[in-house]
Symmetry: C3
Subunit: 368 residues, 3 copies
């Protein structure tokens, strides 16, 4: 093991975009579906989420933490996992991730731990990320003027939060006008939406309104970008289509999350705008043995002070751990190659590792 | 040679998308043009298709089968090739591919062997893939109602076929409405097309009609995706634009062929839909020394039970062989890296190799 | 050092797309901004262009030429650089590039050397590349009929030039009609533009007119493609959108420059059209330690007689040198891998290196 790899094994992480983990036990179907991000339906009988890069990575890296040999069979893994209570699994895998801070998106939390539970579970500080579309849906249900209700809710909910998050990628995507709508447009759109029930926001005017309100907060604004489930049209989740929005986004940090397969486009935007950042969360887990090649591409056009770490773990705590596991080994391999080729110095590699592991996140989110 | 490479050298393949090969001799222009997929015009005088990755791969891998040293000069290769009768070349290269089954697209067969000839030549079973646009063009020429004629032809022609194939990518691409048209729309469009001559189908309504008829058959539906000749607008052959169609495609297997440079998008769709599959045929040949890097990307988001092998060979039988040759060595290199890095176990690598080589194809096409 | 690497270290280059370099000293802000291509604003206080792949490459490769150790600290590098007069820096780095010919885009030359100065500085022949949009802006200011003025200016300015260049990517992008407009359309558009001041051409009709006039010249027409600054919408600078234009471009060589992250699409077009060529200038510099991976992708679908070398250096002469430095080592690494894997022969690798280094450029630009 090289000194660089040793450093990366130990460096504390700030997981700047993550969700809750399971606290109650479930069946194998729940587990396998949680290993497939894109499919919104039950997996076919002839398929198994264990037969994927993520499945192989779970068997390679999570088995030893459960006392199993590396690459334990899927059935063996599943059986052994069932012998441990879900909260104990959570404690085991979360602490093994080596994160000092977790920035938790609370916008979608069906079946997973809430902030309080996570504080207890997680070996580290827990911070909240507020989802804009959830705020909008609450504002639709609130009495009185929509814009005022939204403002009041957003202000209250973000008082102790570190960031906001938008899933515009799932609600129509990035293509088209993303300018700040006029108050009259907002009022009209809100009436229309409330009349239609006021659930599951897809109204473009109100989505735009939410984004521009988030910009005013000055707290970092996270965007789901690229790879997700099939409710998201991958084509319209390409961050190049955020260009006009970024041009008016001022100094508010804009965080491009996940980014696969548009990580090169995201890196370009991180170079083009002082306030744009990116990570490779979610994708790194699903790429497993191929995550190193993805991490390499994250290290192309993006300035090194603009790249962050996240796992985007949701559900099985294996994911919260694996994100860290794969990032640590992928980064070590990639940067060691740069050093061995004489392109980077060893101290530079250590410094860049620290920036991405926690330095950039601490600065941008103003964590103490 | 590692045990994994030995396994890959010997594993029988199902080439699930291929065309006929030449049986009559031709000049060097014919040969060189057949090594360039994208250009629809004669190559310029200052160019040579031997000076490409595919050309270098032919010289590296096909030379020894003709008794020449690896990397024989282009002129030497061409001369030696001319000393062997075309059917003998076909027998030589086809048997060297090590395929047990060939699924042959008979929709475009100018100058190449037909199914009967291929049965004789090919060291393996031959199965037919019926091209939907050819069926449509026959239906246009048939008497009576277009839809009935199409249904009758499709039913008859696919009785013994294993799949259908669409070249929608060449007939307007994937962008836009791909829903099932109404009978009235179909009738109107058919009249319009027949009045205009009824050749070379580009009418969107009738293309959509054909796709949805193919879905009803339940046999796998193959799509040309990405890289092809310049009649195809690469941009509109990106499989992300099939999203809405895939959402209504039910259980009929949809096979995304070739996929370059959209293999990562195709892999995402293979994860997102139980019925979506992909391969890297055609591209692997044209990438030559770079095909390993492409194979790596095929092994990213797609579940391992959703990836298949094909050569897409057409014309010179070198292509039917090279597809297998490059796939075998590329897969061995890529998977050995996964194993050496401790990310995959050796038995898993063997199992995934078997799935992609033939297991998945045998299951999806219900071959015995 | 292998024989292949030795060959690549010494092979003379034709830098077929480059700009002037600084001759007057400036402050550190000017220097750091020149290391960031995409951002059009001053870098944020918390950022440093030294903390990028390009910054690391400058410290790795340019330091030794200034008598510093490899990877010298950013502050040390900046101090040492300041001790050398800018023209001496230019002479130092330009001669170290090992280029026999420089094809200089004179269309944007704020603060950098003009052709005459470059002739003095550069250890090699200097040739001019005329920017079409500059010609148009001069034609707008000229008396009389716009089309005649444009023709007259273009004819005069290209008499001794080797090529034209279009920055259509920055003036609306490639999407949409790029056909040759009628004389009446041109006259109308010119009147409209002149009435509006006649500066900064973005009128689509006149942009199209310029392109088709350039085609008639038969001299190579260079296009900025992909990666550039954020005035360019990356999405519309994807060369796939040039398809219809290329279909009518006849025999005039069309040179796709830079191409990141669309180098695979550009390679496909270079295979599809006899008259299409590509390079990886600009991108190679900004990719630093990752430039080898980019060079690999340039060597995919494009025939080897269709790939060229350029640095796209502008401003600090480090960029004119680094382009060559990174290309030489990246090509050596990539091609040595092909040779070691038995996919290419050593003589073929040398021959392809020579084609890309200077052979193709000499042929296409008809340099003596």
């Amino acid at each position: 093991m090289t000194a660089l790899r040793e450093h990366l094994e130990a460096v504390p992480l700030i997981d700047h975009h993550v969700h809750g983990c399971w606290l109650t036990s479930g069946d194998r179907t729940r587990f396998e579906n949680a290993l497939n991000e894109a499919n919104t339906e039950p997996l076919a009988a002839y398929d198994s989420a264990f037969d994927t890069q993520l499945g192989f990575a779970v068997r390679a890296h999570c088995s030893p933490l459960l006392g199993l040999p590396r690459h334990a069979d899927a059935d063996v893994y599943w059986r052994r996992r069932g012998e441990v209570a879900e909260p104990d699994l959570a404690r085991l895998f979360l602490s093994a991730a080596g994160a000092s801070d977790w920035l938790v998106d609370t916008g979608f939390a069906d079946g997973v731990s809430d902030l309080g539970e996570m504080s207890t579970l997680m070996a580290g500080e827990v911070h909240e990320v507020v989802r804009l579309e959830s705020v909008a849906e609450q504002a639709a249900a609130a009495p009185g003027d929509y814009a005022s209700a939204f403002d009041e809710l957003l202000s209250r909910q973000t008082r102790d939060a570190v960031a906001t998050k938008s899933i515009l990628a799932y609600r129509g995507g990035f293509i088209g006008d993303l300018s700040d709508p006029s108050p009259a447009e907002v009022a009209q759109a809100a009436t229309r939406w409330r009349d239609a029930g006021g659930v599951h926001l897809t109204d473009r005017v109100l989505l735009r309104f939410g984004l521009h309100r988030a910009l005013r907060l000055s707290k970092p604004l996270q965007f789901h970008v690229g790879f997700g489930d099939r409710d998201c049209d991958l084509h319209t989740a390409n961050p190049v289509h955020l260009l006009d929005f970024l041009r008016v986004s001022g100094d508010t940090p804009v965080m491009l999350l996940h980014c696969y397969p548009y990580e090169r486009e995201a890196g370009y935007l991180a170079q083009a705008f002082n306030n744009v950042y990116l990570d490779g969360g979610l994708a790194i887990n699903h790429l497993g043995a191929r995550s190193g090649a993805f991490i390499e591409r994250l290290l192309e056009m993006a300035p090194f002070r603009k790249i962050l770490y996240s796992s985007d773990g949701f559900g099985p705590a294996e994911l919260h751990y694996l994100g860290a596991r794969l990032w640590r080994s992928g980064m070590a391999t990639v940067m060691q190659q740069f050093v061995d080729a004489g392109e980077w110095s060893h101290p530079d590699a250590v410094r860049v590792a620290d920036l991405i592991a926690h330095g950039n996140a601490r600065r941008v989110y103003e964590l103490t």
